[in-house]
Symmetry: C2
Subunit: 555 residues, 2 copies
């Protein structure tokens, strides 16, 4: 089979103006970025305001293997399949980060015959949103350190700065740094660090903001740190909310591209699914719902991370309600959850698969708790055996959950029509979406609700620091916001070694942080990497460009 970039480069893309025209978008309602990308502008939002929404379908997954389970690929492929079925479907996805592109993962624009294109643009700078977010983040930091240098009128304690610099790169050497060295003209020395930009609160804010007005308010609300008198300092105290928002004036516009089969796709924003809420922007989803009869969207990692946050944070804040949820499962991931090492996942192992199936059951039941019809897409890998697929099917049949094999990586939209027929059926059923917890509860009770209802924990333990932080956040008036739990993606629990459907554990919350601009509280359970490192042989060593500008080695 061809590589992803070979397949993508063989695609004859339609000019983006044709894709826009198909959706009824006028030339005055978008800005082209080259011939195959466009930014969708405010006049489009304004015109569509009164139009009824299409149906929202969330694609999530079981707990993944380190290689990922093809959730983006499945989402793209199912969108293509809807088009094959004659339905008007718009896909809403996150934008890739450069860090993983040059690190391990390669591209993040789908795979095989289910990709969004132009894939090399999407995987590199795309329309510049990630860079705008990085710049906005770092303008705040430069102004903060300048404030310290220029007399520190606000009395900010340099040891209590909580807002970090950002870079869209996997660069472990920047995780913990000392800035301001070099004497009196070069700043106040203090400990600092860089986040990868997708872990920045600016990214979370951009993805949750209703519009420019809301964006500027949220930017102003970002907590920077505390004064020597332990009072909070926010971005608005530096008088730069306007300048930071000006840097985001184009980044707030969702990006229109297409799949290999010409299905419209809106890619916008890309927050991490652990430290942040892990799904594309509210604005992109809203637009896709106005433009399509169906909007297919995805949330990061397994349903315990991305989907929970999509439902409890994004849908709650934005007033969205999904009509159906697709849980992507793979034989590989279920065997991994059954204890098979990642190098041995190619071999049939029905016993391990049986041990792993409770993980799938947990994810399905978790999603059903939200009152939304659930469908399972079994994403086909070439090494899957008929017996393995039958075993998964038997489990799901017993559970009474509709399922079908998705083979979109190898077959494009044609490989997804079986799943889509089930989705269409699910969308005809009533959906009674409601979040899993009330945001009015105390912070500890919200964390406990997620831990018990979604993770299957017996309860939650808090470190002394976390208890203090919770009290402080409540005292600042942020006790009634949703909770964003940062934990490993490899387990329903907070321990990556606990596979399958773990029981008999308590969630260990070590630290609680306030993302006041994003409007949620982050509870950290375990060591969460907010700045990844590169592997021994980074993907960067395989990427090349020839004299004509053709890129190889992206996958």
């Amino acid at each position: 089979m061809l590589t992803d970039i070979e397949i993508a480069s063989q695609c004859r893309m339609r000019p983006i103006k044709e894709v826009a025209a198909q959706l009824g978008i006028d030339e005055s309602e978008y800005e082209p970025y080259g011939h195959y990308k466009a930014k969708l502008t405010q006049p489009l939002f304004d015109r569509l305001r009164g139009r009824p929404d299409g149906k929202l379908v969330l694609v999530t997954a079981v707990n993944p293997t380190p290689a990922g389970e093809g959730k983006t690929t499945t989402t793209v492929g199912l969108g293509q399949a809807m088009q094959k079925l004659g339905e008007n479907c718009v896909i809403a996805l996150r934008e890739p980060s450069l860090g993983p592109v040059f690190g391990v993962k390669g591209g993040a624009a789908g795979g095989g015959y289910a990709q969004v294109v132009p894939m090399e643009d999407i995987n590199l700078h795309f329309t510049g949103d990630m860079h705008a977010i990085t710049a906005a983040n770092n303008l705040i930091c430069a102004c903060l350190d300048n404030h310290l240098q220029q007399g520190n009128q606000l009395g900010i304690d340099p040891r209590r700065v909580v807002f970090k610099r950002a870079m869209d790169m996997n660069d472990r050497a920047l995780r913990q740094i000392v800035v301001g060295m070099g004497g009196p003209l070069s700043g106040i020395p203090r400990q600092d660090g860089f986040l990868i930009s997708v872990a920045s609160e600016i990214m979370a804010i951009l993805c949750l903001a209703d519009d420019l007005h809301d964006l500027k308010q949220r930017v102003g609300n970002i907590l920077l740190g505390y004064t020597f008198g332990r009072q909070p300092v926010y971005v608005r105290d530096l008088h730069i909310s306007g300048a930071v928002t000006a840097l985001l004036k184009d980044a707030i516009k969702p990006n229109l591209v297409q799949t290999l089969e010409g299905t419209p796709a809106i890619l916008h924003g890309g927050p991490f699914a652990n430290i942040a809420h892990g799904c594309n922007s509210v604005r992109a989803t809203r637009l896709a719902l106005k433009l399509g009869d169906y909007c297919f969207t995805e949330a990061g990692f397994g349903s315990d991370l991305g989907a929970e946050k999509f439902l409890d944070i994004k849908c709650r804040q934005a007033g969205l309600a999904p009509s159906a949820i697709v849980v992507v499962a793979t034989v590989r991931a279920l065997k991994y959850n059954g204890g098979v090492k990642k190098d041995a996942l190619q071999q049939e192992d029905l016993a391990a698969l049986q041990r792993g199936l409770p993980n799938l059951v947990a994810h399905v039941q978790n999603m059903q708790q939200y009152g939304v019809p659930v469908v399972v897409a079994l994403n086909h890998f070439y090494a899957d055996t008929g017996a393995e697929i039958a075993a998964v099917g038997a489990c799901l049949d017993e559970l009474g959950v509709p399922w079908a094999v998705s083979d979109v990586f190898a077959r494009g939209g044609d490989g997804g029509t079986d799943v889509c027929r089930l989705i269409l059926e699910a969308c005809r059923q009533p959906s009674h979406f409601s979040p899993i917890y009330s945001e009015q509860l105390p912070i500890e009770e919200k964390i406990a609700a997620i831990a018990q209802k979604i993770y299957g924990a017996d309860g939650v333990d808090y470190s002394a620091a976390a208890q203090k932080q919770i009290a402080q956040i409540a005292a600042l008036g942020y006790g009634k916001t949703p909770v964003c739990i940062a934990k490993t993606q490899y387990s329903l629990s907070d321990d990556p070694a606990k596979l399958g459907r773990p029981t008999g554990f308590r969630l260990q919350v070590k630290e609680v942080r306030l993302s006041a601009g994003a409007g949620f509280v982050v509870a950290l359970a375990g060591d969460i990497m907010t700045m990844p490192g590169l592997p021994k042989v980074p993907a960067a060593e395989s990427i090349d460009i020839d004299d004509e500008g053709n890129i190889t080695g992206l996958f």
Copy 2:
């Protein structure tokens, strides 16, 4: 008078496709970025290859005041004036950096009625070139630190890394930092620092590269540091030249915009004029020469910095030859050179002006040394008196140099026609351009040639370190490249306090660095700031954006 952004926002821009069509550029030869910006692509270069070049006119200046002398404004306004005279002129300029925009200087897209537009886009992210350069720079750094972390097979000495990280921001706290703190999983601790992106060698390389092939070669040649055995390590040794170049695949395409009066302008690249060579890309200039009968371009700071490098580095490497040179002078700058403090420049002071005039004479004579006809544009400021203007004119008349007042800030193109008539006359004269030194000379002799012929120094003194570095660079085989001298912009000498036309001094070279990718040797005379700081009240505090996306406070 209105502010710059008010004037710019009142401009009815022509769609960029009209500007392109006026230049005979086909739709297949550019990529639109919104409706008012476009990137010019390789097919355009290919088609125009055989077309004869227009005439190249360089705009430079006397030594500036800290507020700048309106060189960009003059270049833009003169381009507009050429259009008023019915000439086909294309302007080639540098792209602004975000650092100054949020710091002191405000925008860098001209001023008053001589601006390039859309000014807020140009001053913010524009088409993303600056961010691509930053990302390319930092990919190198991440891979370098990853190499150290993953066993350091090349034996790189972490104390002898010379390539720094980059950010497009004024952020003094990043000048000197310690990276890799936090224990064995978070890198090797070492001293590092950030440059502002415009001071990065990647920027210099992008601006000197002929094409993608040349760009990749140059990227591979960047010197990263030395091994424990004192052997040089280059980017190519990390096997990432292709990945770094892939990040620059769009940044290498020049950007087409327009002036307030619709004159085509190509903005591309923006290297510092001290540590780097201070002018827009070779590709932009070449394209402007193919598309216009005249290309007006500018080089940073005074002629001792930007123009010398334009002529001795860029024109030499790219095989360009200017037909005329415009020296921009202001009454303000000449009074400043005559010893007037910057707060008192508004008052008439003929005695100070007389003391400052030798500075103008020096710049004119310096440029005449290159064998190119010289014209002086006296850029008018509202506080200039008739007596002051007459005094400058008398001096120039005595020198036999054609001059005229330029009033493009207040009057747009109409304010520049007098100067343009002189330029047209100059372009009809023979030009016998040749660089001021032979690149075959030893490094010390090249530095001495610039110091004596341009700065008026009696000679050059080298620190012990600089002598050692020169020997090392020659031993590495880079002794026959041009020299890029980094020194203060406020004096012809290396001492910002020596105003006017200083004599009786020797240039003090403290350090010599190799920019092997750019293809020049940097000699540092004085403390050169490669990462500026923000002022006590940064411009960021004045910048705002309203709910409709209108930006205020850019100037």
